[in-house]
Amino acid sequence: MEIVTTICYAALALSGLLCVLRLVRGPSLADRVLAVDTLLIAGVAGVAVESARTGSGVYLDVLLVVALVAFIGTTAVARFIERRGAQ
């Protein structure tokens, strides 16, 4: 199990790296937000992996909240983009 989760973490870290690259590159605000959103989803996955690893439910609230927060954040910025134009 440890090996599996380590591989998972590595994959998620790589995902994170790709997201960061997109964040740096842009070019539009929508791209950046998409990158952050995806990064957060990767985070959700990471927390889920941790829960699967330990079988503990301590971080499940976090899992729920990260997903919620990603949703709110992205929607909010989407509204901003819609109002203010491409950046």
Partner: protein
């Protein structure tokens, strides 16, 4: 290692792989709309798989429910996120890739 654990491990690997794939799409696709495709589908699947893996491992009812809620939330939010972002980008004038063959929204908007 129990069967549940085996399944769990399998789901974990699959889920992570999909997420990696999705982010690769975000990096590789050529316009924001295409990237949204990658972000709203592959990641959702990936997360669902990982959550399923966790479901196999957690013990209490509350924990399972929390995982389910998270899955539902993800299922509901991912498409909405994609829609909201895509729509915003579109109305904000974010360029479509030149390989876009048809844009019926533009023509409808002009008619309007």
């Amino acid at each position: 290692m129990s069967l549940a654990d085996m399944a769990s491990a399998f789901l974990l690997l699959g889920g992570s792989a999909f997420i990696l794939l999705a982010t690769a799409g975000i990096w590789r696709f050529d316009d924001v709309y295409s990237r949204i495709h990658a972000a709203t589908k592959a990641t959702t699947l990936g997360v669902l798989l990982v959550i399923a893996a966790a479901l196999l491992r957690v013990e209490t009812m509350a924990d399972s429910l929390k995982l389910c809620l998270a899955a539902i939330l993800q299922l509901i939010s991912a498409p909405v996120t994609g829609h909201m972002l895509g729509r915003a980008a579109y109305w904000a004038g974010t360029e479509l890739t030149p390989f876009t063959v048809i844009d019926q929204l533009r023509s409808a908007d002009i008619e309007h």
